[in-house]
């Protein structure tokens, strides 16, 4: 077509414009992307963000649901992400409240913590598993990979399928601290990223063993007795059950006004009733 020849001639000076156009296009695109940050209000728009432990998340969701029903003008956003992420989010301001299902580490102690509930860690097996109770030392051996078959434990046969939570999970952190002490959980263990998933897997695999929040144990799995002590709230309250951990709400410095209101609700009778009906123990 004639126009192409015409174009070639008149485009020589236009070539210079190419670079300019490319650069401006790039910058404009970047601008479009960065512009909203000027409008953003820090965390998600004008509400309270509560983020962290997936063990606490179902309870936080429930608390938020009821809290917002009572106060329709207030907004609470609950996110998961894991205890460590929650602590990080509280520190960085991405969330006003971080949720942690493990104790704060020494270098995290500068943050303000509120105990909102207490929870036991249950070691669970499939309901048809003949094992009823086990020693903590044996649990450590199993999760470290030293004991590999059910025969060695004395009940049943076959290779033990070990199921653990992911690195960064507060539940894993608590388990690591309370059971494994300095030892690493075996690499061959199956890793899943929420209590619910661990429970779902153990509920299906007769040769599996795992650990979840005691409050989440239901009819699909069985919690083992540890060193002779049954996994029950009574035993936790009596101080007999070895695996107990705090559920924490963490804030960077004193909580914001919105956060304070929510925390007060959670620690109130109504909030704590929810804790108990969910299978956890009250904060006090």
């Amino acid at each position: 077509m004639n126009s192409s020849r015409h174009r070639n001639i008149s485009l020589r000076p236009a070539r210079r414009h190419h670079l300019l156009a490319i650069h401006s296009g790039f910058i404009i695109l970047l601008g479009i992307v960065l512009l909203p940050s000027g409008c953003s209000r820090g965390a998600s728009g004008g509400g309270l963000t509560v983020a962290g432990s997936t063990s606490i998340q179902p309870f936080a969701d429930r608390w938020a649901e009821i809290y917002q029903r009572i106060h329709p003008d207030r907004i609470v956003n609950v996110q998961g992400g894991g205890s460590s992420a929650g602590i990080q989010a509280a520190r960085s301001g991405a969330a006003q409240i971080g949720m942690s299902s493990r104790e704060l580490k020494p270098d995290e102690k500068d943050l303000t913590e509120f105990i909102v509930a207490r929870d036991g860690l249950a070691v669970i097996v499939h309901p048809l598993n003949l094992l009823r109770g086990i020693g903590l030392a044996q649990v450590r051996d199993i999760f470290a990979g030293r004991i590999r078959t059910w025969q060695e434990v004395g009940r049943g046969s076959g290779t033990i399928t070990v199921v653990t939570r992911e690195e960064g999970s507060g539940t894993r952190g608590a388990f690591q601290e309370l059971v494994m002490h300095k030892e690493r959980i075996a690499r061959e263990a199956i890793v899943e990223d929420s209590n619910g998933t661990v429970r779902a897997i153990v509920a299906q695999d007769p040769r599996s063993i795992g650990y979840i929040s005691l409050g989440l144990v239901d009819g699909t799995v069985r919690a083992l007795d540890l060193d002779g002590v049954a996994a029950s709230d009574a035993n936790i309250l009596a101080g007999l059950y070895p695996l107990v951990r705090p559920f924490l709400f963490v804030t960077n410095g004193p909580p914001t006004a919105e956060a304070r209101l929510f925390i007060d609700f959670v620690l109130s009778d109504e909030g704590q009733e929810l804790v108990e009906s969910g299978g956890l123990l009250r904060a006090r």
């Binding site: 156009a21 490319i22 695109l29 897997i201 299906q204 695999d205």
Partner: protein
């Protein structure tokens, strides 16, 4: 310059800027991932990342080898399942099926591409994992499960690109061969497939890229054990699962290590994509 020409020039400039959006985005993504992920690789040494066997990021142990091997195994398995099946479908759809049947089959197979990966993973959990566990042993969450499901997931990619490869061939190839007395199968096997070779290879490579990049389905059915799988029935973790599983842990060095995983994944994918582009352009130039 007339006003018309100036307007035209402006419009063209504007469109040029828009057109560069895709490239700009690509550059930004690349820069970001590399800038977040490479420092830690150099701090702890590339060798530890690429060859280390232990992934315990909370204790600063960043060995990615089990995940690299895991991605490799799972992808190979997916290719074993998906490529023969996909090629067979492509051959049937282009050479053996009648026009009417093909018109029905093609959209049906394209529907496979639209199903969300989490649904594939779910079917994997509910159907395939228990089947493997009860009939073949092991926890069921395994290389085998991942390979089977991923193999099905890459079928649409392999099939559609293979069909394109066949349809790009000059019709005279087929007609000439049949005219010489060959059966359709002989034609396919001895003329068409070799002729479409580079396009078919591109299909395989892109299928590979899809399999390596898949995350959700794999997390649900592979078991995510950070160890080199000893058998197809053992659990496995891929590079993608590694990122997704622990990404919530967004702190300091652990986060950087996940970006490092992303860098390695990115490099692998880029290499594969360039290879696929190169082989299919060879085809275009060749014919």
């Amino acid at each position: 310059m007339t006003r018309l020409e100036r307007n035209d020039r402006l419009i063209r400039l504007g469109l040029l800027m828009i057109a560069f959006s895709a490239v700009s985005i690509l550059i930004v993504i690349t820069l970001f991932i590399f800038s977040e992920g490479t420092p830690i690789m150099f701090k702890y040494g590339l060798r530890q990342f690429l060859l280390g066997l232990n992934w315990y990021p909370t204790e600063k142990s960043f060995g990615l080898l089990p995940m690299i091997v895991g991605s490799l195994f799972v992808t190979s398995g997916a290719l074993l399942v998906g490529v023969p099946t996909g090629l067979a479908c492509a051959v049937v759809l282009t050479q053996f099926a009648s026009k009417r049947v093909a018109r029905i089959l093609k959209p049906v197979i394209e529907l496979l591409a639209g199903i969300p990966s989490v649904v594939y993973g779910f079917i994997g959990i509910v159907v395939i994992v228990p089947f493997i566990r009860e009939n073949l042993g092991g926890p069921g969450l395994s290389v085998l499960a991942a390979s089977l499901v991923l193999g099905v997931m890459i079928l649409p990619t392999v099939i559609s690109i293979s069909i394109d490869a066949f349809q790009a061939l000059p019709p005279t190839y087929r007609e000439g061969s049949i005219a010489l007395g060959a059966t359709v199968w002989q034609t396919t096997r001895m003329v068409l497939i070799p002729a479409a070779r580079s396009g078919l290879i591109a299909a395989i490579i892109l299928g590979m890229g899809r399999a390596i990049g898949e995350t959700m389905a794999v997390i649900m059915i592979a078991g995510n054990a950070a160890a080199i799988p000893g058998s197809p029935l053992a659990p496995v973790r891929t590079l993608t699962s590694n990122i997704a599983l622990e990404m919530g842990y967004a702190s300091g060095e652990h986060r950087e290590a996940l970006f490092a995983t992303g860098v390695i994944l990115f490099v692998i994918i880029m290499v594969l994509n360039t290879l696929a582009n190169w082989t299919s352009s060879r085809r275009r130039r060749g014919f």
